[in-house]
Structure formats: structure tokens, C-alpha cells
């Protein structure tokens, strides 16, 4: 392996790293927002909306991100709706992630035993208090492991962004291989940068997981 080559590639990888992180995290925030809203709709069985939510979840959970990106990036301009590649990337990631997050939040909400609701009502808590201080905290702490797994999954899904000309880590590596044919160096840096991106998420994530569990359940 050639060290000079590696050093000369690093700035390009750093640029790609920040692009991947920027779009990745925007997409994840978008996914969390969608997930929460959809989970509430499903949990409280809001008429009409819960039907739409179900269709949304099944549609986006059962199609690959690549297909969704193709549709948004190459399909929508044909009907006159043109959006930039970056917007496309995080919207696609958010829509895919939202369907997964919704299921995680929903199972979290459902995992709170009925006795909790009954006890809270017996103690005279209002509906709002019941939801905000009894159900939601327990539901979220139950959801943390699932959310964490999805965050890592979504950050890794960014590797298909190359299809819509976004210079993410994966595409940078592929492009450099195509330009200069230094395969080993390009792939080595690719692995390293993905680890730099994902390792902290895993470590910090499991820390949060424990904290959240301790706070709500005391164990």
C-alpha cells in the first residue's frame, strides 16, 4: 500500500465524509419526525389517517432505497418537479427511515402495559399528563435500541447515493479507483472512514440506551 497515495486521497474522503454525515443526519432527523407522527396515528387508530400510514409503511419498507431515489431523482423531473441531488438524498433516506422508525415507536407505545394507564387514571392524572409523563417516556426508552439500530442502518444506506451523483464515501472510493486505479488504498480508506463515522454512533448509542433504561426502569 502506498502511503503517499493515501495521504493525497484523505482530503477528498473528508469532504465526502461530511457530505455523507450531513445528508445522513438530516435524513435521520426527518425519519424520526415522520416515524413519531406515523406511530401516533397508528397507535391511536385515527380514522382514515391510519390507513394512509399503513400504506406508507408497507410501501417504503418493502422497496429498496435505490428504487426510491431513482423515482425521486429521475422520475419526478419527468412530471416537472425537479429537486437537487442533496435534497433528494435526505428526503429519500427520511422516507425510508420513517417507515422503520414508525414501527419502532409503535412497538414502544404498545409495550407500555395497560395497568400503567389504569393506575395513572385512578390517581387522577389528566389525559395529557398520562400521555406525556407516563406513557411517552416509557415508550421512548423501550424504543431506544430499535432507533439506534435504524440510525446505523440508515447511515450505511447512504452508500447507494452514488446513483444520483452524490459524492458520498462509497462513490468517492469508486470514482478514485476509476480515475487512478489505486484500488487497495481507496478501499482501505473507505473502510476506515465508515468505521470513523459509525463507531462513535454505536458507542454513544449504547451509553444512551443504558441511561434511558436506568432513568425509566431503575435497572
Amino acid at each position: 500500500m502506498n502511503l503517499d497515495v493515501i495521504i493525497s486521497y484523505i482530503p477528498l474522503y473528508i469532504e465526502a465524509f461530511f457530505l455523507t454525515i450531513r445528508i445522513g443526519w438530516l435524513g435521520i432527523l426527518f425519519a424520526l419526525a415522520i416515524g413519531l407522527v406515523v406511530a401516533f396515528i397508528m397507535h391511536f387508530k385515527i380514522p382514515f389517517l391510519s390507513g394512509i400510514a399503513l400504506v406508507y409503511i408497507e410501501l417504503f419498507r418493502n422497496t429498496p432505497l435505490l428504487v426510491q431515489l431513482f423515482f425521486i431523482y429521475f422520475g419526478l423531473p419527468k412530471v416537472g418537479l425537479s429537486i437537487s441531488a442533496e435534497t433528494c438524498g435526505f428526503v429519500g433516506l427520511g422516507l425510508l427511515g420513517g417507515s422503520y422508525m414508525a414501527e419502532v415507536f409503535r412497538s414502544g407505545l404498545e409495550s407500555v402495559p395497560n395497568s400503567q394507564t389504569e393506575s395513572a387514571l385512578a390517581l387522577g392524572l389528566s389525559r395529557k399528563q398520562l400521555f406525556l409523563s407516563v406513557i411517552l417516556p416509557q415508550a421512548i426508552s423501550q424504543s431506544v435500541p430499535g432507533i439506534l439500530a435504524n440510525v446505523i442502518f440508515l447511515l450505511k444506506e447512504t452508500s447507494v447515493f452514488s446513483a444520483i451523483s452524490l459524492m458520498d464515501l462509497m462513490f468517492t472510493a469508486k470514482d478514485l479507483i476509476g480515475l487512478y486505479y489505486d484500488t487497495k488504498e481507496a478501499l482501505f480508506l473507505l473502510v476506515i472512514f465508515y468505521i470513523i463515522m459509525l463507531l462513535p454512533v454505536s458507542v454513544i448509542g449504547s451509553f444512551i440506551e443504558k441511561k434511558a433504561r436506568f432513568r425509566t426502569l431503575g435497572v
Binding site: F74, A163, Y181, T183, V191, I192, S202
Partner: protein, 337 residues
């Protein structure tokens, strides 16, 4: 207790990371062995058993009864899959001839521009016949046989805003290229200020260009000329850019038996004007008669460019404008050389 768990987690992840690093290490080591093997490939001893050698010799290919040829599946009319699911095009026509003369069955492997060298370096294909332009950088990694086609770079843009010179491209404008092509390398090297929008396949680049995400598309001139002929409202503003290059079959570095056989084959085929027949079977619908002498290289001998261009300009046709500009381009190129 909690701390302990965290430590355990850290230890595991670190082990995994190290494992990954070792894996890539291993990969590079074996690749090195491979290249060492290739340089000493003159020694035929122990060729059969060697697992390090990435490529297959001519005899091994014949014995197996199958040859793997890397072609494009989305570059009409050079290498593409037709409506019946069959590979077609100028490169494929030649590939079929090679398979026929070798007496083996062909497995076509669809490649992307950027992975053509990789496919050969890892021995996943025996020959790449994917409109592979001969360049110095590539020749360090793979072995090129004799050429069978001429090529230069070209830039196509919408008629409403034709770009006739690269200096017309505004700082905010983006030019579409395909990752791993000579157009990308050329623009990266010579025009670092031009913003490139990179795609990994021909299909996505084309769709994106149609959607108007870039002001122009730079690629092999054969490709952009074909695009402008087939699609209304586009014009090849720059028919020739950079140097005049050739396109040739490529094999894994050091695979001399296969290389020699292909070279012999190209020379023999030249005597029967095979590549002219190839042109007339696959390219004439797109380019017409005018480009035949400009594009075709027969018997591995690059024709005198001046002669070829006079041929092209003397040809009269409906498409005289485009033909003349291309002829001009090739004279320019030949005088530059």
C-alpha cells in the same frame, strides 16, 4: 457493572476494526503476490496449480469451454442489451467473433466504466471489450491488444444553449460525466474548475442530462454524436476535445497467451475487412456511412487520420454539417500530433 459492559463493547468493536484492517491487509498482500506472479509469468511451470494467478491462459479458457467477456450493457450502439435480452453492438459483434473462432461459449459480463480495470485485475473476466480507450494509466494496470476503433472526446449540449467552447461554461454550471471514463480524467486534469456531476452508469447519466441537471455532457465523441443524432434538440458543440485515442480489447496484465492470440486474430480479421462489416452491421444505423473511415481501425493499424478525414468530408449526406465538423476535428487532431 455498567463500566465493565462499556469496556467489553469497546474491546469488541476495536477487535472488529482491527479484523477489518487485517482483512484489507491480506487482500493487498495477495494482490501483490498476484502481480509478482504476473511479471514472472514467462515461466510456465506450476501454472496449473497456482491459485495466485488471477487470469486464465488461452489453453485454460479453451479447456473450460467458456470465456468471460466484459461489455457494456447500456452503451448503445457499442454494447447494449436489446429488447430480446441479447447483447448487441459493435463491441459485442467483435466479441462474438472471438468466441466463435476460439470455439468456446461466451459469458457476457456487464461492466461499469469505472470497474473495467478491476474486473481484469481480479480475473473476473478474461477480456474487456467495453469501448475501452487506451490510456497510459490504464496500460500500467492491464494489457491492451491492437486497436479496433478511433475515438476522441466530445461535448453535447441542448440546442437552446449550445456550448462550443469549454470557456463558455459558467462557474455554477455543471457538466455531466461518467465516473471512470477518459472524459472525466481529462476534465479533472485540464479543467479542475469545471464542476462535474458524476454518474456511475450511462443510463443514469443520460436520464439526468435529459432532465437538465447539467448544461452539457462530456463523453467519448462517438457517444455524444450518437446521442445528438438520436435525440431531438441536442447538438455536439465540441466534436473533438483532447487527443485522438484508440479503443482496444484489454486482458489482465501479463496474460500474454491470450493477448497474442487476440492480436493475431485482429490482424487476420483485418484481411477480410471484418471491422468494416462490423460497422455496417451495428453502427451504420446510428452514424451513417460518413463516419466509417473515421471510426473503424482495420487490422490493428491506425489509418492515416488525414486520409480518413478527407474520406469523411468528401462524403455528401444530409448530415454533412456534423460530418464536416468531425472531419475538421480529426484533421486538427492529426496536425496536432
Amino acid at each position: 457493572m455498567k463500566k465493565n459492559n462499556l469496556k467489553k463493547l469497546l474491546a469488541t468493536t476495536l477487535t472488529l476494526a482491527l479484523g477489518a484492517a487485517t482483512l484489507t491487509g491480506c487482500g493487498s498482500a495477495s494482490a501483490k503476490d498476484g502481480s509478482a506472479e504476473q511479471t514472472s509469468s514467462e515461466a510456465p511451470a506450476a501454472q496449473e496449480q497456482s491459485t495466485d494467478k488471477v487470469y486464465r491462459t488461452l489453453d485454460e479458457i479453451k479447456e473450460s469451454g467458456e470465456i468471460n467477456i466484459g461489455v457494456f450493457s447500456d452503451k448503445n450502439p457499442f454494447g447494449y442489451v436489446d429488447e430480446n435480452g441479447e447483447y448487441q453492438g459493435y463491441d459485442v459483434y467483435f466479441a462474438n467473433k472471438l468466441g466463435e473462432d476460439l470455439g468456446v461459449k461466451i459469458n457476457f459480463v456487464s461492466t461499469e466504466a469505472a470497474s473495467r480495470v478491476e474486473y481484469l485485475e481480479t480475473g473476473k473476466v478474461d477480456i474487456v471489450l467495453a469501448n475501452f480507450t487506451v490510456t497510459e494509466e490504464r496500460a500500467e494496470k492491464v494489457d491492451f491488444a491492437l486497436p479496433y476503433m478511433n475515438v476522441a472526446l466530445g461535448v453535447v449540449s441542448p440546442k437552446a444553449n449550445v456550448i462550443k467552447d469549454l470557456s463558455e461554461i459558467k462557474p455554477d454550471d455543471q457538466v455531466i460525466v461518467i465516473s471512470g471514463t477518459t472524459a472525466e480524467t481529462y476534465l479533472e486534469k485540464n479543467y479542475p474548475d469545471i464542476k462535474l456531476q458524476k454518474f456511475d452508469t450511462y443510463a443514469t447519466a443520460k436520464t439526468s442530462f435529459e432532465n437538465g441537471t447539467g448544461v452539457a455532457w462530456a463523453n467519448d465523441n462517438t457517444e455524444v454524436i450518437a446521442y445528438a443524432i438520436e435525440n431531438e434538440g441536442y447538438e455536439v458543440g465540441i466534436p473533438s476535445l483532447g487527443s485522438q485515442d484508440t479503443i482496444a480489447p484489454a486482458v489482465s496484465k501479463g496474460n500474454t497467451t491470450l493477448l497474442d492470440w487476440i492480436n493475431g486474430e485482429i490482424e487476420t480479421l483485418g484481411k477480410e475487412n471484418f471491422f468494416h462489416a462490423d460497422y455496417e452491421a451495428t453502427l451504420i444505423d446510428t452514424y451513417g456511412k460518413d463516419y466509417e473511415e473515421t471510426l473503424v481501425v482495420e487490422g490493428g493499424k491506425v489509418a492515416d487520420a488525414a486520409e480518413a478525414s478527407s474520406d469523411a468530408s468528401s462524403a455528401s449526406s444530409e448530415d454533412a454539417g456534423a460530418a464536416a465538423s468531425d472531419a475538421e476535428a480529426s484533421t486538427e487532431a492529426s496536425s496536432a500530433q
